[in-house]
Symmetry: none
Subunit: 528 residues, 2 copies
Amino acid sequence: MSTPTSTDFHVFDTTLRDGAQREGVSYSVADKLAVARLLDQIGVGYIEGGWPGAMPKDTEFFARARTELKLRHAQLVAFGATRKAGVRVADDAQVRALLDAQTPVVCLVAKSDVRHVREALRTTLEENLAMVRDTVEFLVGHGRRVFVDCEHFFDGYAADPDYGVQVLEAAFAAGAEVGVLCDTNGGMLPMGVGRVVADVRARVSGRLGIHCQDDTGCAVANSLAAVEAGVTHVQGTANGYGERAGNADTFALIANLVTKMGLPVVPAECLPELQRVSHAIAELANIAPDDHQPYVGASAFAHKAGLHASAIKVRPELYNHLEPAVVGNDMRILVTEMAGRASVELKGRELGVDLDGHADVIGRVVDQVKVLEADGWSFEAADASFELLLRAQLPDAPPALFELESYKTSVEHWGNGVVVSEATVKVHVDGERVISTAEGNGPVNALDNALRQALVSRYPQLADVSLADYKVRILGWSSGTSATTRVLIDTTDGVGEWTTVGVHVNIVEASWHALVDALTYAVRHRAR
Amino acid sequence: MSTPTSTDFHVFDTTLRDGAQREGVSYSVADKLAVARLLDQIGVGYIEGGWPGAMPKDTEFFARARTELKLRHAQLVAFGATRKAGVRVADDAQVRALLDAQTPVVCLVAKSDVRHVREALRTTLEENLAMVRDTVEFLVGHGRRVFVDCEHFFDGYAADPDYGVQVLEAAFAAGAEVGVLCDTNGGMLPMGVGRVVADVRARVSGRLGIHCQDDTGCAVANSLAAVEAGVTHVQGTANGYGERAGNADTFALIANLVTKMGLPVVPAECLPELQRVSHAIAELANIAPDDHQPYVGASAFAHKAGLHASAIKVRPELYNHLEPAVVGNDMRILVTEMAGRASVELKGRELGVDLDGHADVIGRVVDQVKVLEADGWSFEAADASFELLLRAQLPDAPPALFELESYKTSVEHWGNGVVVSEATVKVHVDGERVISTAEGNGPVNALDNALRQALVSRYPQLADVSLADYKVRILGWSSGTSATTRVLIDTTDGVGEWTTVGVHVNIVEASWHALVDALTYAVRHRAR
């Protein structure tokens, strides 16, 4: 559990708490568990999972995390506020909920700007200090490690520098391990951050942290300026997701700290996971990945072929600020091809498929992925579809579960306001023609039910398989009627989950592809 | 023509030259002229228009600019390279083309990294200095002001600091007005940029400039660090468009320099144009505006109201790093689960609906939003649906566009692999019963087509309305069959876009709600 990261330098990710403030983002509990697993793979030290008590979904997340989340690198953190003014800490339900979350670490938000204490909290400066002291002591007394986010610290410091220092002193005296200086409104520039951090360090002893918002476009740089001035705890969110202009991007932070500042803040083997994890989290958040994102974007190391193409080929290091593979990226020329032969081989090994001596298979898979990705398929988040594609190229590839003759699915909204969906599939299973009709909550659910019903007597294991999530993205809408739909389906058998993908101009046909892969994977690779 | 900008501090925009290196961007000559006019409106001092001679389109741009482009603030700049090695400058066609462009200013790119001189240019260090000297002298002799971009300056400085200084000295001695230090590969951090700039300033006299790429996510911060260290010429591109991770964003640079560093680098009346110009250039580049872009993004000042709405209402400056109107933006309040009366009132004001004296309306809207959001509706990204909901509670609310009797939509995958979608709607419009059937790319597109067809003779303005984007989110899937689907639809009439929402267990019925809102909004609130 303990790594150099978690003791020497804290990389603290708050994608699931502050990052979830981004407009339009709404994670399910299963999404949150999946995001936490991904963040753990890049070696962050701390994962802030949410605000138990305040948000019912977050309470459920922490409850499920206790049994379902096995983290290798990170410690799970519950976020909450200091006790209410005028209330005994032991009587504060919100603080109690923090204990109930049963995380090793709690991160408390505290007011540190005199104006916010007076005008938003509507209490006295003394009572706010007591709220910090009491809440930290209470949680430490119950065996928690406590970090304190000092909200609006920089704006507050400009208005009254002494009060921010008093809040930090109160937190440290009560047993807090980190005092985090937050640029909550995001208006700082690096030079100012560096000066304030240096100033505070000279006045307070205790580990300091930094939390930056990107309102000036400087969140990453501000965080690094704070590190140069001595903080050893840095907060960020995946892809910089967050309210307004967002937060400091965890991926850029890690990449800069490790490759530019020489600080080994994550285990060495984690760095090449940055690109994959960035894209997988974008899929889970249902946000199109930013091709131009530093380090991890599909275009981050892409060169417009032309003038320097041959020079780049001979001495790529003269034209790249970093070897792209260090962060799991590659030097792309055209489409998001999946990194070529080496990564197919690697991926095969990961899936337990030995591709040594199968150069032809690797070549065919690379070619097929290139063609499919140009059409909008994406295998970054759809491991199960990729595994099926890979295994289909092996000499002993099994036949399809069934042959499709035709399907039909419909939705009717009747005069009485009732909405009904129905589907019929006609398939051939082991030479037998099966016609199956079923209803469902929607056209895809009806198709799913009809197909399962057609297959379940031949493949009884499908009875235990159900859809866990369904995501839709419209690609290239600008071309009007030729817009393409990409569907990702998460399927579970109660033990594990797998993800499949389908792409087509018609959402139902795209879903059908993902469904067929989902059920095929269940039969071929789960029920063994 | 001459403004404080063009003499005291240079804001130099290269959207049309370096920014055009961004993947997928391809401006027509008319686009380039339009972009230049827009950039002039934000008061930049210099607009680099392209590379005449090297790019035929750019040659044409400069020719047309002479008659078609009237700039109030900016000087037009032609970009080119120093003469070829071993060629007399007067015989170099590329240098001649720079004169033919007839711009007051020329920006020359020069190699300043010994490795690039030797390995990419394949010439000697001496000859490269002579190329800089000859070309600058020649252009100055022909009455041009000359700026010199020192390519790969920072990487070169790390390898051999003396050579970069020699290039700058050669340029200044030959009459160059600015020596621009370029972080061409984009690998720098602000602290390093500040140190190198300070170092160079101590060794060279002459105006220094900075050009940063965003490969570490620090392009804006690096530029500002250079300004703090003494440069007075800053290069950027609109919205940070550029190769790989892009360039420093001109809008963030200007906003930070003016509002955070107190440098009046553009005329005061230009600052409120930033938001409009940013979005207009995004349209011309055919790139979706980034809602989360600092200062100018649609979400840059958006707050998830809830908890703090009343505090924000009283003291917005406690929650914004800047008054949004300063850069032409506004404070959007997101209506979320915790929406209270204050945020509905604020939102109403934003939509131009005066709710003073309508306490009952506010109360009903708050109640309705609470119930709907508990069912999975989300209005934070669906302003148009919220406006319809709000206006429906006002005394003079108009009736629905039509009454639905029933609809039916289907998808069939035939034996020959063909996939077809069809829909039929039965509606009553102004008392008349209309039955309409249409095909589409999917079940929702077919419904959309059938409904429009039914309504267009009564509401002809719908002919100009089309779907711009379609997003689907499955909510609370864990509860199995009772999972809910949320659909967001972006609709455009070619002038503006609006977003509507629908929620139902059935994806088609959810889409139907969002569709009906989209068309209702088009008729009621767009076509006025």
